[in-house]
Amino acid sequence: MSPMNIIWMIAMPFIGAAIGLLYIGISRNITARVQNRFGPPPYQNIIDIIKLYSKKTAITHGVMFHLGPVLAITGTISTLMFVPILTGNYPIYLFSFQGDLILLMYIMVFGCLAMALGAGQSGNPNSAIGVSRGLTQMFGYEVPFVIALIILMVRFDTSSVLDIIKAQDTVAHWNIFRSPFSFIAAIAAFLGMMGNKPFDIVFAPAEISSGPPSEYGGKYLALMQTNRGLFAFVKLVLYTDLFLGGAGDFITLILKTFALFLIPLFIGIVNPRFRTEQAMTFFWKWPTAIGVVGLVLVLL
């Protein structure tokens, strides 16, 4: 393990979190513009986090409440470690040789579940309702997501992310063009994962007072917000790797991830919210149907 790799390992979570938070800030800004507002500055989320970290008190309901955010970010950082971030001349592979796509699918859940556990211990019924909705929705979007990944794995006969990146050497070979069905299914799942507008019933602030984290405040909330940014980044990088041929350098990475990030954002801005079971069944209807078409095609 080269020293460079170790440095990246330490730096990448911070960079990732910063980029992710920035994206979310930009998304707030864009949303504001769409709504004919001025909107907060793009770095607003970072301010929020600093503020939260500098809160003077924090309450905890117990061990799991305390560990929930910690484990959540642990899961996210662990996921990051197994995603190849850059593939160009100065690659950032971290541990991605030691894991594959299936590992990623599962380790991504680690954080969510940990957060759900923390939320559970808060004892707030709203949190529990939020978790219930979140897990249900997760069950919904994982189906098209899994289909998309299976299409890729079967098509390239590999489950290694690096190999999939390698197969997309030119723009024309990007999976977004080669496996459009897979991409559509995956993007639909992505909407759900990001928790953007049509699928944000999990955090519905006015209804269940922001759902799972409703009992979290102060430093815990800060950690969770950081996690949110980092997680968004990780997912974006993964999608870039899978569908946009990875990234050779940071600029490409940022361009590609941002482009990807805009999709759920714009869909979210113009759409109202789904109910939980509507969301679940939505995922099982159109994205799944499209994914199945892709599956049939890849088998032929």
Partner: protein, 180 residues
């Protein structure tokens, strides 16, 4: 403990961040609640100052009391305030929170909110327009930046006084103790 708090109060970065990120828990009592949506939405767009609505007291920084408070409601307000994480600020909104306003002689409303929870900023008017509200927020931001918005500390230090006042109006006292 207090030294520590003071040190943090004067932390410039922290105060800057606090100032620019005010998460509001709008306690929509009375008629004032109607003025909050315009403040937040496109026309006045409070979000550009980092002011955002929050749903739970655990996450909020600012408690916005929008109007008169009946005794019954006061209980909830106190509870909500006590559940917020320090540093926390209270904005009294409209004349009812200042002196009872048009409910001055009502048998069942409180007159001066500051007697029960520490108010950092009062916004005058019946009702104050969104411009007034934003102005109040900016005043609060300035106080925060200067490290003057210390109502929560005041509440902690003079808890007995506040409790006495609260108990005076709230007859069946079942509140849990304020635990910090």
């Amino acid at each position: 403990m207090n030294d520590d708090l003071d040190r943090q109060n004067n932390n410039i970065i922290a105060n800057w961040a606090r100032k620019h990120s005010l998460w509001v828990l709008a306690y929509g009592t009375g008629c004032g609640a109607i003025e909050v949506p315009p403040t937040m939405t496109s026309r006045y767009d409070a979000e550009r100052f980092g002011i955002t609505g929050m749903a739970t007291p655990r996450q909020a920084d600012v408690l916005l009391i929008t109007g008169y408070l009946a005794i019954k409601t006061l209980k909830r307000v106190i509870r909500t305030y006590e559940q917020m994480q320090a540093p926390k600020y209270v904005i009294g909104f409209g004349s009812c929170t200042i002196n009872g306003g048009m409910y001055w002689d009502s048998y069942n409303t409180i007159k001066r909110l500051d007697d029960y929870i520490p108010v950092d900023i009062f916004i005058n008017g019946c009702m104050p327009r969104p411009e007034g509200v934003i102005d109040g927020f900016i005043k609060l931001q300035e106080r925060i930046a200067r490290g003057q918005a210390k109502g929560w500390q005041h509440y902690q230090e003079n808890l007995d006084w506040y409790r006495a006042n609260q108990k005076k109006v709230i007859k069946n006292w079942t509140m849990p103790d304020y635990n910090w």
